[in-house]
C-alpha cells in the first residue's frame, strides 16, 4: 500500500489515550494502542474532526509558516474567502489583502476570483449535460477523498473541475512570471488556508500531478501578525477583484448559489455529508442538479484553522458581500481547458475491504459476525477501537485480541476468581 501524506498529526506527549477523537472520526481511522492515538493513514481524509474535538490539543494540523516564503524571490498570497470573515468590523476586503502584503507577500490573488470562474464553468458543464447528475462539488478535498474511498458509484458524479484554489494558484503563478520575468521556481504561491484538508491537497493532489501552490499557511497561524499589520496600514490598496458569488464560496450554500439554478442541495458538517452521500448512492435523492458538500459545519468558515466562530464569520461575510457586483470574473479563451482534471477520480477499493480475495473476505466477515455477537455492544471505545464491530474487524485482521475488551476481560477474571473460590 502506498504511503499517504497527512496534514493532521498527533503530538504524542499530549495524547492521554482518551476516546474523544476515536469516537468522532467519521472514517473510523483512529485506534488507541498502548495508551496513545494512532491514525490509520490510508483511511484518514484530513477532515480535522479530531483536531476539533481533542480536549488536550494533541492533534494538530501541519501547515506551512510565514518563514517559508523566504525561500522564494517573489511571493503571492492566495487567500481563501473564509479569511474575510475573521475580523471584527472589517468593512473592506482590501484592508485584509493589503495586510497580507504588509506581512511579506509581494502580491495577492484572491481565490474567490478563481471561484467565480469555476462557478461559470460548472454552469456550462451542467447545461451541456456532460457530467452525470446530480453533479457533486469537487471543491472540498476531504469530501472528494471520502467519495474516493467509500462511494465507488458516485465517483463519476464528481465535478471534474479543479478547485478554485488550484485555478487561482495557476493563474497567480502565470501572472507573476509575466510581471517579474522570474522563473517559476523562484516564485512562491501560498494558499492562506482555513483547513488541513487543503494542506494535504496541495501536497498530494487528487486531480493533478503537482499543485501550482508551494504550500498552505493556516489562517490561525498568521492571524496575530496579520491583524497587527492591518491596524497599522498607511494606505489601503485597491486589490480586490471579486464579486458576491466568489466571496460567497466561503460559506455553505455559496457555491450552489453561484450555479444560478434552484435544484441544488447544500450540506455541511461531515456527518451530514456522509448521510447525503449514502442517500445519493441509494438514489433516494432525486430531482437535484447540483450537490454542494462541505466537510466543516458552516462551510470553509468552519475549518479548524480559522479563528472565528463559523456562524459569526458567516454573518460578517454576508455583510461584506452586500454591495458587491454579482461576479467580476469571466471565462476567457482557454480558461476552461486549464480547469479540467488531469486525472480521473478512481475508486480506491482497498481501503475498506477485508481482503482482495472474496472467499477470504467472506470467511473473515463470518468470524467478525460471531465475534460481534459475543461482544457487549456498548461501543465504549475502551479497547481502542471505535465500536465493537470495528474491534471485531481488528481482531480478524490480527490487530487486536478479545481480551482488549475490558468487559470480556472482567468476565474472565470473575470466572477465574469463582473457580479459585470453589477450590478453597
Amino acid at each position: 500500500m502506498s504511503t499517504y501524506f497527512h496534514s493532521v498529526e498527533l503530538e504524542v506527549d499530549k495524547c492521554c489515550g482518551c476516546t474523544n477523537c476515536l469516537k468522532r472520526c467519521p472514517t473510523e481511522a483512529i485506534r488507541i494502542r498502548e495508551g496513545k492515538a494512532h491514525i490509520l493513514s490510508e483511511r484518514c481524509i484530513d477532515c480535522g474532526e479530531c483536531i476539533r474535538v481533542c480536549p488536550h490539543h494533541a492533534k494538530k494540523a501541519h501547515s506551512a509558516e510565514l518563514e517559508d516564503i523566504k525561500k522564494f524571490k517573489y511571493n503571492v498570497a492566495i487567500p481563501a474567502p473564509a479569511l474575510y470573515g475573521q475580523f471584527n468590523n472589517l468593512d473592506n476586503v482590501n484592508i485584509a489583502l493589503t495586510g497580507l502584503k504588509a506581512i511579506g507577500f509581494d502580491e495577492v490573488f484572491e481565490v474567490s476570483r478563481a471561484a467565480e470562474l469555476v462557478s461559470e464553468a460548472t454552469r456550462k458543464l451542467i447545461k451541456a449535460g456532460k457530467v452525470e447528475k446530480p453533479v457533486i462539488s469537487s471543491a472540498c478535498p476531504a469530501v472528494v477523498r471520502l467519495i474516493k474511498i467509500r462511494f465507488p458509484e458516485l465517483c463519476s458524479n464528481v465535478l471534474p473541475l479543479l478547485a478554485p484554489i488550484e485555478v487561482a494558484a495557476k493563474t497567480a503563478r502565470k501572472e507573476a512570471i509575466e510581471r517579474t520575468g522570474l522563473k517559476s521556481e523562484d516564485i512562491g504561491v501560498f494558499f492562506i488556508t482555513p483547513c488541513p484538508a487543503k494542506v494535504t491537497e496541495i501536497h498530494t493532489p487528487n486531480s493533478v500531478e503537482k499543485s501550482a501552490c508551494n504550500g498552505a499557511i493556516g489562517i490561525s497561524r498568521i492571524y496575530p501578525e496579520l491583524t497587527k499589520a492591518m491596524d497599522h496600514l498607511e494606505h489601503i490598496e485597491s486589490l480586490s477583484r471579486s464579486g458576491l458569488i466568489g466571496i460567497g464560496w466561503a460559506t455553505s450554500g455559496g457555491e450552489s448559489a453561484g450555479i444560478l439554478r434552484d435544484k441544488y442541495l447544500a450540506a455541511d458538517g461531515i456527518e451530514n455529508v456522509i448521510r447525503i452521500l449514502e442517500e445519493l448512492e441509494d438514489e433516494h435523492i432525486r430531482d437535484v442538479d447540483f450537490v454542494e458538500l462541505n466537510a466543516c459545519s458552516g462551510g470553509c468558515v468552519g475549518g479548524v484553522l480559522t479563528v472565528e466562530n463559523p456562524y459569526v464569520a458567516q454573518a460578517r461575510i454576508q455583510k461584506l458581500r452586500k454591495y458587491l457586483p454579482v461576479t467580476m470574473n469571466h471565462l476567457e479563451n482557454d480558461d476552461m481547458d486549464n480547469m479540467n482534471w488531469e486525472n480521473e477520480l478512481q475508486f480506491d477499493a482497498d481501503i475498506f475491504r477485508l481482503s482482495d480475495d472474496i472467499f477470504k473476505a467472506m470467511e473473515m466477515m463470518d468470524k467478525m459476525e460471531n465475534i460481534c455477537k459475543d461482544l457487549p455492544g456498548l461501543d465504549c471505545g475502551s479497547c481502542g477501537s471505535p465500536t465493537c464491530r470495528a474491534m471485531a474487524e481488528d481482531i480478524v485482521k490480527g490487530n487486536a485480541k478479545e481480551t482488549d475488551c475490558i468487559h470480556k476481560l472482567k468476565a474472565q477474571i470473575q470466572k477465574v476468581y469463582d473457580q479459585l473460590k470453589d477450590t478453597l
Binding site: E278, D282, E283, R353, F359, A361, M362, E363, D366, E393
Partner: protein
C-alpha cells in the same frame, strides 16, 4: 464456503428507521469488496421493500444470505397481503394512504423498482396472513 447469514427485524411504525437493514447490508457488502453496481442494486431493492413493509404491513423481518456470487433476500411480514399482484406490479399503482404520499413515498414504484434492480423476484402472499418477498441479486465479483 457457506453463506453469511444476516437477520434484521423491521420496525413497523417508524419511517426514519426504514433503511437500517439495507444500510447495514450495504456496509457489509462494501467490506467484502463486492461489485459496486451489485451493492447498489441490493441496497435500492431492499430499501424499497423495507419501506413497503412499513407502509403496508407494520413491519416484519428480513433474512439475507450473502454468497460469493449472489445475494438472496427474504422479506417477510404479517400484513394484509396483496390482493392483486399483477396490479401491484404496475408502475404508478399504489394503495398507500395520503399521509405516506405526502412524505414522498407511495408513488407506486416500489415493486416495479424492486423487480428492475433484482435478477429474481418471487412473491408469496395470502390475504389476511402476510407476504413473503424473495429476491436474488446475482453478483459478478471479478
Amino acid at each position: 464456503m457457506s453463506a453469511i447469514h444476516l437477520h434484521y427485524e423491521v420496525s413497523g411504525d417508524d419511517f426514519t428507521r426504514a433503511g437500517e437493514a439495507s444500510g447495514s447490508v450495504k456496509k457489509r457488502l462494501k467490506s467484502l469488496g463486492f461489485d459496486p453496481d451489485a451493492i447498489r442494486r441490493v441496497a435500492i431493492a431492499m430499501y424499497e421493500a423495507e419501506i413497503n413493509m412499513v407502509i403496508h404491513a407494520e413491519g416484519g423481518y428480513c433474512d439475507v444470505d450473502i454468497y460469493p456470487d449472489k445475494v438472496e433476500i427474504l422479506l417477510a411480514d404479517k400484513g394484509p397481503g396483496i390482493p392483486d399482484v399483477d396490479k401491484a406490479m404496475q408502475e404508478g399503482f399504489s394503495t398507500a394512504p395520503d399521509n405516506v404520499r405526502n412524505l414522498g413515498f407511495g408513488a407506486g414504484m416500489g415493486l416495479p423498482n424492486i423487480k428492475k434492480y433484482t435478477d429474481e423476484m418471487r412473491i408469496e402472499t395470502t390475504i389476511g396472513v402476510g407476504t413473503n418477498l424473495y429476491l436474488t441479486v446475482n453478483v459478478n465479483n471479478n
